[in-house]
């Protein structure tokens, strides 16, 4: 083995050793925790006192983007040495899906299922409920029967989009109810960046206030799949994507967290359909969004490089900035 080949091999090992999967696992856990805290905030109305996880999530996302940027830089170096770099295994939804899901019985599971049932219309969901053990004291089934519930919020999003675009409300309700609160509430966290990406594709640029009507028309196409979903929950998400201030009267209750999560799933289905995509294409959209984050992380590194004291390094960083793609 030549020296160069040996070096390329060592770099490949270092690239593969980067803890992208661990960071994805940590991010998924924070999303679950964030969903539960959102429920607490909604239930108590004490938004100022309930602990928040926004800063931690942002740091984690930044770390993930920086590691992907490092992998790309090392790949570029290996190519510069004249050796084709092996691709690094994807770290997207598949890795996250492998993280064990602590579903188990929880006090909140009933709360989640009850709200999903309400959104779906009671009769629509009753036939999906089967007793998997002794019935509760009231004789009603004790939990939702789902043979293979989604293992992560991203996977749930894909399943919801699939059921919606296939026009199968019963499957949609079953997927939602079976996911449980920890996975289900995470929809509200994983969907918005993807919605922004899809909306940008629809209107041809990052969605703005003037695109609100068009994006809303496309995104709301399938909200009838949950007949009792308050339309405001979906409109609020669309407004945020287009950087509009959601319209809300002062005395109105905040959006129920389950409504926001379920609405986000249906909106993704609407925009997938409006951009001629199906549920399977969501994986590509997730990868696009990751690439966008990587580009942002690279821009951060270049900004940091500008602060380097060495004038020659400073010069090359400025040159590199000039080469950076615009957009």
């Amino acid at each position: 083995m030549s020296l160069v080949q040996d070096l390329a091999d060592q770099i490949r090992v270092a690239r593969e050793e980067l803890p992208v999967a661990q960071v994805a696992a940590a991010a998924e856990r924070l999303r679950m925790a964030g969903g539960l805290l959102a429920w607490v905030m909604h239930s108590t109305g004490e938004s100022g006192r309930v602990p928040q996880l926004g800063v931690a999530s942002e740091r984690l996302d930044a770390a993930a983007g920086l590691m992907r940027a490092a992998q790309d830089a090392l790949e570029a170096y290996t190519l510069a040495l004249g050796i084709a770099a092996d691709s690094v295994p994807a770290s997207g939804p598949l890795v996250v899906a492998a993280i064990p899901n602590p579903r188990g019985p929880s006090q909140l599971a009933g709360w989640w299922v009850a709200r999903v049932r309400e959104l779906a219309g009671r009769d629509a969901l009753d036939d999906l409920l089967t007793s998997s053990g002794p019935a509760g004291r009231d004789g009603k089934p004790s939990r939702v029967s789902t043979s293979d519930p989604a293992g992560s919020s991203t996977e749930l999003l894909q399943r919801i989009a699939g059921a919606t675009l296939d026009g199968m409300p019963a499957r949609l309700h079953r997927e939602l109810a079976g996911a449980g609160p920890a996975i289900g509430l995470g929809l509200a966290a994983v969907a918005p960046p993807l919605l922004r990406c899809l909306a940008a594709d629809l209107v041809g640029h990052p969605p703005r206030l003037e695109d609100l009507a068009r994006v809303r028309r496309a995104a709301l196409a399938h909200v009838a799949m949950l007949p009792n979903l308050p339309i405001e929950a979906a409109q609020e998400v669309v407004a945020r994507i287009c950087h509009a201030v959601p319209q809300r009267t002062g005395d109105k209750e905040p959006t129920h967290p389950v409504d926001a999560a379920a609405a986000a799933g249906l909106l993704v289905a609407g925009l997938l359909s409006a951009t001629n995509r199906d549920a399977a294409d969501l994986t590509v959209v997730v990868e696009e969004e990751q690439r966008r984050r990587t580009a942002l992380a690279e821009a951060t590194i270049k900004r940091a490089a500008l602060r380097i004291g060495d004038p020659s390094r400073r010069r090359s960083a400025i040159d590199a900035l000039g080469d950076a793609p615009v957009g």
């Binding site: 940590a26 539960l36 607490v40 770390a63 490092a70 830089a73």
Partner: protein
């Protein structure tokens, strides 16, 4: 309106997830340190821009993980205070 017991249960469940997240971040930090070391040994003496960019990105990623951990510790403290006041 949720009962105090329900709110406490939700906070407990959330903090369990946060704890698992902290474990994952600690494991990631350790693994990242090892990767940085093996990379430094492999590319020692290289002045290539891509190598410099990769090392700067990994150093920044380590700092972000550290700050993430600090932020979660603050959240856990806030949660404990909040639950104590219920």
């Amino acid at each position: 309106m949720a009962s105090v017991a329900e709110v406490k249960a939700a906070i407990d469940a959330a903090m369990l997830h946060v704890q698992e997240s902290q474990d994952a971040v600690r494991a990631a930090t350790e693994k990242l340190g090892e990767a940085q070391l093996s990379l430094a040994l492999a590319v020692e003496g290289s002045g290539h821009d891509s190598v410099g960019a990769a090392q700067a990105a990994l150093a920044q990623a380590a700092s972000e993980l550290d700050e993430c951990l600090c932020a979660t510790l603050t959240t856990v403290d806030q949660a404990q205070t909040y639950v104590a006041g219920l």
